[in-house]
Symmetry: C2
Subunit: 712 residues, 2 copies
């Protein structure tokens, strides 16, 4: 038997050098680009060449899904290597470069019970991928693709032994197509990306106040009046479900009720708790319309509609939302109030529980397990309902202790524009959760949530990727894999690989900036866009209100979360300050970057003069120049060892505070690093009386930004 060292150990080694000796002293370990990191991986000696004679053979169970999966993997390998490989499976398994050996097809309908494990054994002769199911083999093929490397000798896969299986069996991405409709091809390319990082649940949020997106043949007014004509036909839904299944991905549909249901009521106002008429919501936020839980007609409707959907969507689970219903329509409806009194229903929460219990009967009748958001977790809730938590792992653990299955989404709200590092460290089952193994088994996994207020087909990929790959790793890899720096290193590689699947998260930014620049030179605008990010949480709507019909083509839409440039700049500033008192490390790079910012400002103002769509960004041009100038001044003080006066320091910090205020719904994410340079220059005298390490700690403390209320 082979020995495996833990991925976490490997990673901590990998951070220090690109090739190292493993504990047994014989084999070099390699710094790899695998994401998610496998459960166990051990690199060996040697390499398997990938050249034009590359072939794949299959042993054991072979079916169309496996064939197609291998075909797709081989085409991607061709694209990367610019080599043409033989089509189809090779007849001779002994001579093949890669042999895929599957035991069986696995679940007919993709299921939470699917065995996704696989092993991958690469020697200098052959790669052997073994799995119990086709889905396991698909997961292994993605790992194989991520192992591809190249040097002067050519392409190769390093010798390696991998035993892999997911930590959680529910690893999802929610896409809200209610607020903004996303065409079928957008969903397909995102399913491809999900498969590339081993996610296995597409949570399709199909209805919202702002749009009803799935065709019902029984109730055609749902889309006829509630969708602006933007919806999926049942044929298209089946196409998406089949496309997902091909990639080992489940499709869990969500019909959000009783709140978030305005779009239902446009066509069927009789279901509402107020007489109507209703129209499609155009704003963002929480709205009052809610289904009337006291009327039998409503359950008759839901029975017929959900029955139709249960036949369309084969997954065992159906999500009924249940979130953010404040019950204001209920409060104002005398009939509902009378009903509550007559039935001893004491408040709106109890009324919603009553609604959920009725719903549960309907779903059970149609053979589905019910799933809903945190709010549905009420005392009388039956045990076979699944909770999706936007509140956090504590609420999930509490549910698990009571015997409920749960899925974590708190921490994975990618629409809030937080960096990948924050999502990465959120764990559905933290080490300190103190659950028994039986309780822990109720924590099924997690889901990233792409809420749709501010995404269009042009921008949505950049809001999902690459950050969601970090979440995918959290949900697949061992808990101990949590090195943020190494995650970012691998994330950059994976991000580029996702582009081969048609993802637009990288390439659309340049296009959007070119459009804003009206076809003129957009260098200055690119420079600005590289160091700002959209405002976080739900502030965008507050500071720059728009409707669901507004064009999403502004600067805030072109900018992206998790600025690479800011992270690199911060690392360089850190390197420079660590090099006290010489201040030479990275000083050239920093000078060049700061000069670019300094120069981009005036160019940007000239560009804005001819691009009224950028008028809102005018103050940012001055800010950018000033941030550059301040940084250059601080650099100069540091390199000359001259201490500036406190007046300089105070004026510059005040200027940076001003620049830090969001404008045009974006904010600079390099201010903190420039603050550190300013404070460091001002603290130079302290350096002489202390060690560089102590001095740097002091600089960091003093450079901390003014306390900010983190609201919402």
């Amino acid at each position: 038997m082979r020995q495996y060292i833990s991925a976490a150990l490997l990673l901590s080694c990998a951070l220090n050098a690109s090739a190292q000796t493993t504990p047994n002293g014989a084999q070099p370990a390699t710094r790899h680009n695998l994401m998610p990191v496998p459960a166990a991986v051990r690199f060996g000696a040697g390499r398997l060449a990938v050249n034009k004679s590359f072939t794949v053979a299959a042993k054991g169970h072979v079916d169309e899904r496996l064939r197609a999966g291998i075909e797709r993997a081989v085409r991607r390998l061709e694209g990367r290597t610019v080599l043409e490989f033989a089509r189809g499976l090779a007849a001779d398994a002994n001579a093949a470069t890669l042999v895929v050996e599957c035991k069986g097809p696995g679940q007919v309908v993709p299921s939470v019970e699917e065995d996704e494990s696989y092993s991958l054994e690469v020697t200098d002769k052959q790669a052997a991928l073994r799995a119990a199911t086709v889905v396991g083999a698909l997961r292994g093929l993605e790992t194989f693709l991520q192992l591809l490397e190249g040097d002067r000798e050519g392409f190769f896969v390093p010798a390696v032994s991998i035993e892999d299986r997911p930590r959680f069996r529910w690893r999802g991405l929610l896409i809200d197509v209610g607020r903004h409709y996303e065409p079928v091809q957008v969903l397909k390319r995102n399913l491809d990306a999900m498969a590339a990082v081993k996610l296995n649940v597409f949570h399709w949020h199909l209805s919202e106040d702002q749009g009803f997106r799935i065709e019902s043949k029984k109730f055609p007014k749902l889309t006829g009046l509630g969708s602006d004509g933007l919806f999926y036909t049942q044929t298209e839904a089946r196409e998406i479900i089949a496309y997902a299944r091909e990639r080992g991905i489940r499709v869990v549909p969500e019909f959000d009720i009783p709140g978030h249901s305005t779009s239902w009521l446009v066509g069927y106002p009789e279901l509402g708790s107020a007489p109507g008429p209703y129209k499609i919501e155009r704003g963002a936020g929480i709205f009052e319309p809610a289904l009337d839980p006291t009327r039998e007609e409503v359950y008759k409707f839901l029975d017929a509609f959900l029955g139709e959907m249960a036949a369309l969507f084969p997954d065992a689970y159906m999500h009924i939302g249940g979130d953010e219903n404040e019950g204001k329509q209920w409060d104002r409806n005398p009939r509902i109030q009378t009903f509550m009194k007559e039935h001893g229903i004491k408040d709106n929460r109890a009324l919603q529980t009553y609604f959920n219990q009725r719903l549960l009967k309907i779903l059970t009748k149609h053979g589905k397990r019910m799933m809903g958001w945190d709010e549905i977790f009420q005392p009388d809730l039956p045990k076979d309902v699944v909770i999706q938590s936007w509140r956090g792992p504590q609420s999930l653990a509490e549910a698990a202790r009571k015997g409920y299955d749960g899925v974590l989404s708190a921490g994975y709200y990618i629409d809030l524009i937080f960096p990948a590092s924050e999502h990465y460290l959120a764990d559905p089952l933290p080490a300190d959760s103190n659950l028994t193994p039986a309780e822990a088994a109720h924590v099924l996994g997690g889901e990233a949530t792409m809420w749709g207020e501010w995404v269009s087909p042009e921008t949505i990929d950049s809001r999902i990727w690459p950050r969601t790959a970090a979440i995918a790793e959290r949900l697949w890899s061992p808990r101990e894999v949590r090195d943020v720096e190494d995650m970012y290193r691998r994330l950059a590689v994976v991000s580029a690989q996702l582009e081969e699947l048609g993802l637009t998260h990288e390439k659309n930014q340049a296009l959007m900036l070119r459009r804003l620049a009206g076809g003129r030179d957009s260098w200055a605008l690119q420079t600005l866009a590289s160091v700002v990010e959209p405002v976080k949480e739900y502030r965008r709507y507050e500071v720059r209100p728009q409707t669901m019909l507004s064009p999403l083509t502004g600067l805030v839409d072109a900018t992206r979360p998790d600025s690479d440039a800011a992270r690199r700049f911060a690392a360089q500033v850190d390197g420079l300050l660590s090099d006290a008192p010489r201040f030479e490390t990275y000083s050239q790079d920093l000078q060049s970057t700061l000069n670019d910012w300094h120069n981009a400002g005036p160019q940007l103002e000239a560009l804005i003069d001819g691009s009224p769509a950028l008028a809102e960004a005018r103050p940012l041009a001055g800010d950018l120049s000033q941030i550059g100038t301040i940084g250059l001044e601080a650099l100069s003080y540091l390199s000359k060892g001259v201490t500036p006066g406190s007046e300089w320091r105070n004026a510059r910090l005040a200027a940076l505070d001003e620049a830090a205020r969001p404008k045009a719904a974006v904010e600079f994410v390099v201010i903190q690093s420039v603050r550190a340079l300013v404070v460091a220059a001002a603290e130079l005298p302290a350096l002489k009386q202390t060690t560089p390490d102590e001095w740097k700690t002091r600089v960091k403390t003093l450079a901390a930004p003014p306390a900010k209320k983190r609201d919402q």
Copy 2:
């Protein structure tokens, strides 16, 4: 009545200044970004603001096609301005920003007889677009979008009077989906781009030796065995036809016979002139298989098949190819030889004419006009057949004199990778063609041809756009509009606008270079890619053979025709040399560019070390560095006024000749400019004995590249 000045006159004015006085002395003319240039345009005083209260009203005839066209235009305007406009048509035409007034729907089925004319009258109060047909209105809407400008006051459309109509009524783009299949969405976005530059014929080349791409319900083996599963269903074809019609574009299908027909014969070998069996061709070139024109079963098949297609494709024309059949199978088939003797058919050309006449009867029976390539133009050809010429305007004029309608494609072969300027100057009806007006009317127009040997869904847009916009202008605008420099200026603007329609000609290059760089910094590779182009004409296959199954992801695929960087560099070198003897103009820019090339070389080599897919590009890294070095040396001599020895000159020119040789199927397109710098430095002494102008002419002559055989 308004007075119109000719567009050509306007352009020649526009080249000298951005705002000028028109002949009547009262109104400022504006340098515009219109492409194609309208038949008559006159700018006036004032401007129409485009702000958030922008609305569109419609008068006269209004139908769904017009509504949808207006809706699309308004959404694009929103995207550019980042303003949200009211949905739907405004009720009050007097208060609307833009009023569209259509007389009638025009042709039900898009037709060569369609009236595409329109007028556009913009004052500071309102824009009025008037057209006889909906298609005319769609053309005018594109012009309106191209008129949008912005400054510190906001967005606006300048006051202008435009009377516009096309010079030619057949303005096409052929897309060959036979050699490489292109998904429906690729065709759709290209139809959008065609409409944006007022092209009106999508010539759908649906069958080739390498693939049969349209479903036949009568003969399912055509796609069943001849397409690798890559074909359009009839439902998809109808979707494309409807999409094109919505944009005022005809769809002319081509079924290329009797040659180019291998893919037909894979499923139906009994139609061939040799017994078979046949398999799908994977190479590029001319192949032998041809239908057997001597067998009645073949005509029975064609009658049934073309009848099915005639019902599917509503256009009045059907293209039967007819090109490049060398008749080798016919020569070797004794039965065919006997048939020819019995029927007095003297050679293969006559046999093909016999075939065409039989075909013509079939098409006539099914209500279609026949169209074919040059080769079908034989003595006995009936007059209602349309000739598509790949030979040139002379052959077209000859046909026109004999009374045949014709369409020019010679000069518009965009797959040959020539610059837009060459295509732009090719004229279907040159001033010297000496045709009578009646004869000239037979010249219907022209078609750009996107032959499919070396294009994938990822690269095809970059082979079509933006160059095809220059061809579109040639086919729409007055003959006198032929200023190349101004064409390029406007082309850059249009190119950026095409991106809003989803075209990928710009954004996919960066993605392809990132993939080649394996996710590492691709700056050096970008620098290389900016100054090389794919080899021209049909040399690619000679120097770098691939099959139709090969990945199109190499450096040659990532590079593009018509390098902007090379054109800019050439203009700067010209500016520098015109500034003799000071040599200051552009010297900073040139120095910076040459330095980049010099520095990119070594970085590129390091990149190639880890990217085996770039191994073929290794010699280019050294070349790039050397070109940079040589240019810097020459610049230095010029700026110092020091003359280098003839040894230096000869060595550097020899090195440039070596660098000019294609590698990896790409070639540098800046060599000529660097040669000019070297020769200029060597010719410095001559400058003292002559005028700068004479000296520059001498430099140009001496710097001309070694004579090169332009084969094929």
